[in-house]
């Protein structure tokens, strides 16, 4: 297995290089640069900048250099953990995004757990009770879950939570807790705020996973080894749990790589609507203000998350499914 892992990790390097090229190209696309956007900001507040100041700023930020040089300057610090300098925040990019990355990862991780914990039992129930009322209800709910956009869910939650239930439906902490040092009370406060965004982020994925789990288990239940197990008089519960579900779960792992990008997209929108400090709001802001290194690093991180989760899904699959060969 180890050679396989090493091979897969090394295989990621060319993809990473291409991804970093494309990221740099994309964030360079807007006409003008950060200095032009500062200029227009200054101009809109009635001020002006003379040409020498503008040039000085460009030189200071290295924006006067050719693109290749800018790319190299940006990329060369990555291995040492230097992700460049955020022009808008006047701070290293990493300092700006570190805690936000943490929240994003935490929310996405919890949403993943939620998806799996909810969808597997429902999928198993639907498959073992095919066409029953319960199955039909879950199928319909699944369709509904697939079709309600995350921004709508967040907006509904904001209104229902605040106006109907009377609980603060936005942010991660209550105002009085936000600056308090960590304590049990603060942790409980966090939990109170955390569950709703986690469910909102996980709902589309849950609907998808239920469908996949149901279909996959239905396929497996038709296989001969299941019939054999039943014919030998094994208890039905054991047939399902130990024989069928274990095999049927594999497709769920292989779609993991497809769920991560959706989770990232959701974290952006949910973060914006419910004012949760994920990387989403800051990404949007950096795109608008052309804070290119910040925007670039966030885009790059999201792509890397996708790449890594695909790799992990493959490795887990290879680990639990002995039929997969490592060549």
């Amino acid at each position: 297995m180890l050679p396989y892992i090493v091979k897969r990790v090394l295989g990621m390097i060319p993809s990473l290089i291409i991804i970093s090229f494309i990221t740099f190209f994309v964030i360079q696309l807007p006409p003008g640069d950060f200095v032009t956007s500062v200029q227009s900001q200054v101009a809109s507040s009635g001020g002006g900048m003379d040409a020498t100041t503008v040039e000085a700023l460009r030189v200071r930020y290295g924006l006067d250099q050719p693109q290749v040089v800018q790319y190299w300057r940006w990329i060369k610090g990555f291995p040492t953990g230097d992700f460049g300098y955020s022009l808008e925040w006047s701070a290293p990019v990493w300092d700006v995004i570190a805690t936000r990355m943490g929240w994003t990862l935490l929310l996405s991780g919890l949403a993943l757990v939620f998806m799996w914990v909810v969808s597997i039992p429902i999928g198993v129930y639907s498959a073992t009770h095919q066409y029953s009322i319960g199955d039909n209800i879950f199928s319909f709910l699944g369709f509904l879950g697939l079709s309600i956009p995350d921004f709508l869910l967040s907006l509904i939650w904001l209104v229902v939570g605040t106006l109907v239930l009377g609980i603060p439906a936005y942010g991660l902490f209550s105002p009085e807790m936000a600056d308090a040092p960590w304590s049990l009370a603060k942790f409980l406060d966090l939990l109170k705020h955390l569950w709703a965004p986690v469910i909102i982020m996980g709902i589309i994925g849950t609907a998808e996973l239920i469908r996949i789990m149901r279909g996959s288990l239905l396929d497996v239940l038709n296989q001969q080894y299941v019939t054999t197990a039943r014919a030998k008089g094994l208890h039905e519960k054991k047939v399902i749990k130990k024989y069928a579900v274990r095999m049927a779960i594999n497709p769920l792992i292989s779609v993991l790589g497809m769920q991560i990008p959706k989770m990232i997209s959701s974290s952006i929108i949910v973060g914006l609507v419910l004012s949760i400090p994920t990387v989403g709001p800051i990404f949007l802001r950096s795109l608008i203000s052309q804070d290119m290194y910040l925007a670039g690093v966030i885009l790059l991180f999201m792509a890397v998350m996708l790449l890594v989760s695909n790799l992990l899904a493959d490795l887990v699959l290879a680990w639990i499914d002995p039929r997969i060969r490592y060549e």
Binding site: S147, L158, I268, L306
Partner: protein, 390 residues
């Protein structure tokens, strides 16, 4: 079986007649195929689709949405920019149907005042003052489908206001704006899917049919595009559009950007189908008869995958509609004065405004309903696309 024998007989006849030009043989084969199978396949699909009730409901809703969008100016009682500032932030009005014991749809007139504490405008319906809703009333002039100038609207009132979904901060009727917004939101999907289909079908079919380095190149391309999560990449690309561009140009470029990622899924699906069909006997027969690649691709492969193309296109509509509304919601998509559901929802992004005027999020429900309808319809089409399996 009978048809097959007939086809075989006709081909043998052709050979016997010594007419061996590939054009004529292929032509004959194609004709016999079409008469024997193509028509009945579509009929079988239709029959199977009809049996699926949710799919039919989905289809009807989709049709209804597009018809409403087409006749949007007629259905909407007000135009996009009709500002009735005396009615800003008016909550959705209740329509009452019975007046004085007979059927007469009407709304109550409104007395507006100010809340003494918050100074917000408040509206009190006045049950004494019934404003009848009239049909085919005269209102602001427009051109029906951009062609016929008229000023008739499906419904409206002669005094006061009728606003079944409320108004926004500038006193613009939300219902009218949602209908007008559907013209953008629903066509972004259509145009986006059409463009993705163009790229996806060409590359997908080519990569499945030729294999080898073509396949390799296309697959690597798809992998690179898909190594980015779509929404952030779309955000970065649309943020690059210059602010001073005319809105219509932005609209088209956004559909192009959406399809730049959307084609990959279509191409993958089609490639799989082509790989399967490529090995079928009728392709081999065509090749043996000396048909050129172009002939095989355009006369055999693409028609054979056509039902799948329809299914895949329907199933990719939701993601296009969703992407457009998400981007516009974030302020990176369609720009005013053009209006889409996402643009309308942008007003709801402000938490304080949303909590005071929750009806501003109604456009979101239209996004959800259209996506649900497309999902139901696409699901039914997918089941129907293979009419030979039960």
């Amino acid at each position: 079986m009978q048809d097959f024998k007939g086809t075989a007989q006709r081909i043998t006849d052709l050979y016997n007649q010594q007419d061996l030009s590939d054009e004529s043989i292929a032509q004959q084969m194609l004709q016999s195929e079409q008469t024997a199978e193509a028509t009945s396949q579509w009929r079988l699909m239709w029959r199977k689709f009809k049996r699926n009730r949710t799919a039919v409901i989905g289809g009807v809703v989709v049709l209804l949405f597009y018809l409403t969008a087409l006749f949007g100016d007629f259905v909407a009682p007000y135009s996009l920019e009709d500002r009735m500032t005396q009615y800003s932030y008016l909550p959705p009005q209740k329509i009452r149907f019975i007046a004085d014991g007979r059927f007469q749809p009407h709304v109550y007139g409104l007395k507006s005042g100010r809340d003494p504490l918050t100074l917000q405008r408040t509206y009190v319906p006045d049950p004494e003052h019934k404003i009848p809703i009239r049909f085919f009333v005269e209102g602001s002039p427009y051109k029906l489908m951009g062609l016929f100038p008229t000023n008739r609207h499906l419904f409206g009132v002669e005094e006061g206001i009728v606003s079944i979904l409320g108004t926004d901060g500038q006193g613009r009727d939300m219902f009218s704006r949602i209908i007008k917004g559907s013209q953008i939101s629903l066509t972004v999907g259509l145009v986006g899917v059409a463009l993705s289909l163009l790229i996806g079908a060409v590359l997908g079919v080519a990569s499945g049919y030729y294999g080898g380095w073509v396949d390799n190149l296309v697959q690597r391309g798809i992998e690179i595009v898909r190594s980015f999560p779509p929404i952030p990449l779309w955000m970065a690309l649309t943020a690059a559009l210059p602010q001073h561009w005319p809105p219509l140009l932005t609209y088209f470029v956004i559909t192009v950007i959406l399809s730049l990622i959307g084609w990959t899924w279509l191409a993958r699906q089609l490639r799989g189908k082509v790989l399967a069909i490529r090995e079928e006997d009728f392709i081999m027969a065509a090749r043996l008869a000396g048909a050129s690649d172009r002939w095989i691709i355009f006369r055999h492969l693409i028609p054979a995958t056509f039902s799948h193309i329809v299914v895949i296109s329907t199933l990719s509509m939701p993601s296009m509609i969703l992407a457009e509304s998400s981007l516009s919601f974030l302020g990176l998509g369609i720009r005013p004065p053009l209006t889409s559901w996402g643009v309308l929802l942008k007003q709801a992004q402000n938490t304080q405004v949303l909590l005071l005027y929750p009806w501003l999020m109604i456009p979101g429900f239209f996004v959800a309903i259209s996506i649900l309808a497309f999902n139901f319809m696409g699901d039914g089409l997918r089941d129907a696309a293979d009419p030979y399996t039960v």
